[in-house]
């Protein structure tokens, strides 16, 4: 009897292995641009990060929703945009209340921004890369967390929805426990669900 192959997807394993043997494109962002503070040395580059260019002052509102990409989440932007953003705002408030999230963004399956908080746009690259690296076809998406600075952790939670996989990035004090991750996944899936006919 074959001791291995009945237990795993050989094609998928081979694809993952081949991906590991290929050189990885260096991230097109510096450590600073990736959104980490001075404590983070995650990327392999030992070069000091160039001084950050001056950035315009952030708008006063802590969260600034951006226009959702039409096909990914809102099939009919005119009809769905308002209610969807309302639901996202409620979700953000809930994340803040329940898990002390100080920032949040949501990307669609193409990496386009559905919702963002102005201060954390630089974490998108990391979040999407982690989410992509954590996914395997045929399995449910898994969460990943990475410490991004003193007392701040980026929790990356891929969530399967009717519109494909959304990537939630939440800036929290420490990694969320599994039960909390499940609750967040369920909540975001509900938020992103298309309106039901009444």
């Amino acid at each position: 009897m074959d001791p291995v192959n009945p237990w795993l997807d050989a094609d998928e394993v081979r694809r993952m292995a081949e991906r590991l043997m290929m050189p990885v494109r260096e991230p097109a962002v510096s450590v600073a641009d990736a959104g980490f503070d001075e404590a983070f040395v995650g990327y392999a580059s030992e070069r000091p990060a160039p001084p950050a260019p001056p950035v315009p002052p952030a708008p006063p509102a802590p969260f600034t929703p951006v226009k959702p990409p039409a096909p990914a989440v809102a099939p009919s932007a005119a009809a769905a945009r308002g209610p969807f953003l309302d639901r996202i705002q409620h979700f953000r408030d809930w994340m803040s209340r329940e898990y002390a999230a100080t920032g949040m963004f949501i990307l669609d399956r193409e990496g386009a921004v559905i919702f963002d908080e102005s201060d954390h746009g630089r974490l998108h690259f990391l979040a999407r890369s982690l989410a992509l690296a954590s996914r395997r076809p045929g399995t449910s998406a898994a969460n990943v967390h990475v410490k991004i600075g003193a007392g701040t952790t980026l929790e990356v939670i891929p969530v399967e929805t009717a519109y494909g996989c959304l990537v939630l990035g939440a800036v929290v004090v420490e990694a969320l426990p599994p039960a909390a991750v499940s609750a967040v996944m369920a909540a975001l899936a509900q938020v992103a669900a298309p309106p039901t006919a009444t």
């Binding site: 291995v4 292995a17 990885v24 995650g42 690296a133 990943v144 410490k147």
Partner: protein, 262 residues
């Protein structure tokens, strides 16, 4: 300095045996080698030093930035071979998720580099999370001992998934490959599992050298020695010399920094 993490998804696959004897093989070849015990179980220290539980070590350094690097390094009778034990703090909660100890691990490796070592081999705890993930995210290369038995090989997909994730944090990480361990030529399940793994993965991802299951390793560990030091250990030493040569060939390409292995 080159850093090689010795890691696996599953425990009990021979990481410590591979780490100790591979480090010894490099040191015998004249490469100034530092073997670091980053497994909270302290297996390297327990194998090679009788007073390992008294030594200040790697986890102490992670916990206390005030500990000088020189206090950690334990010389051996072989001039080119030094150790860092796991340490007193090795039982402390080593979790904290990916990235929690990255800065301290990087500081440790910079300190080792500054002390003139050519190679740092890091024996990690099983699983690709916590401190182990930070060690891999700080290393140039990772090698994966894998016991030649069906159950262990079924954990390979999870291992590959974890390594792909860590390469997001460390795009320069080179995966040296999987090294089959505890191979029993007289046991069909063992040889079949080894053959299945070789069929499953790309050839360049599995070391040609296999580590046999051998009572010599138990005897060497009991005496606190690398296997090559035993009177009848020459054969086993050849196996690790072969593994060393394969690693040197994999690390050689173009980078002038690797010339210390030449």
């Amino acid at each position: 300095m080159i850093n090689i993490a010795v890691s696996s998804q599953k425990g009990g696959v021979g990481k410590t045996t591979v780490s100790i004897n591979l480090a010894h093989a490099f040191a015998r070849a004249g490469v100034r080698t530092l073997l670091v015990d980053a497994d909270p179980q302290g297996s390297v220290g327990l194998s090679l030093t009788r007073q390992s539980r008294l030594l200040t070590g790697f986890y102490d350094y992670l916990q206390d930035p005030g500990i000088p690097m020189d206090r950690l390094i334990v010389p051996t009778r072989l001039e080119t071979f030094s150790l860092v034990a796991s340490g007193q703090a090795s039982d402390y909660e080593a979790g904290g998720g990916m990235g929690a100890h990255l800065a301290r691990v990087r500081a440790f490796l910079r300190g080792a580099d500054a002390r003139g070592f050519d190679l740092c081999i890091i024996d990690t705890a099983a699983g690709l999370f916590g401190v182990t993930s930070d060690v891999i995210a700080s290393s140039e290369a990772v090698m994966i001992p894998q016991q030649a038995e069906p159950l262990g090989i079924r954990s390979v997909p999870k291992l590959l998934e974890g390594l792909n994730r860590l390469r997001v944090l460390n795009p320069r990480l080179s995966v040296l490959g999987v090294c089959l361990t505890m191979v029993q030529q007289d046991l069909a399940e063992s040889t079949e599992a080894a053959a299945a793994l070789r069929q499953l993965l790309p050839p360049e991802m599995v070391f040609k050298t296999q580590i046999p299951r051998d009572g010599l390793f138990v005897r060497a560990s009991a005496r606190g020695l690398p296997v090559g030091v035993l009177d009848d250990g020459a054969g086993a030493q050849l196996v690790f010399d072969s593994l060393r040569a394969e690693i040197e060939a994999k690390l050689e390409p173009s980078d002038a920094a690797h010339a210390t292995f030449g």
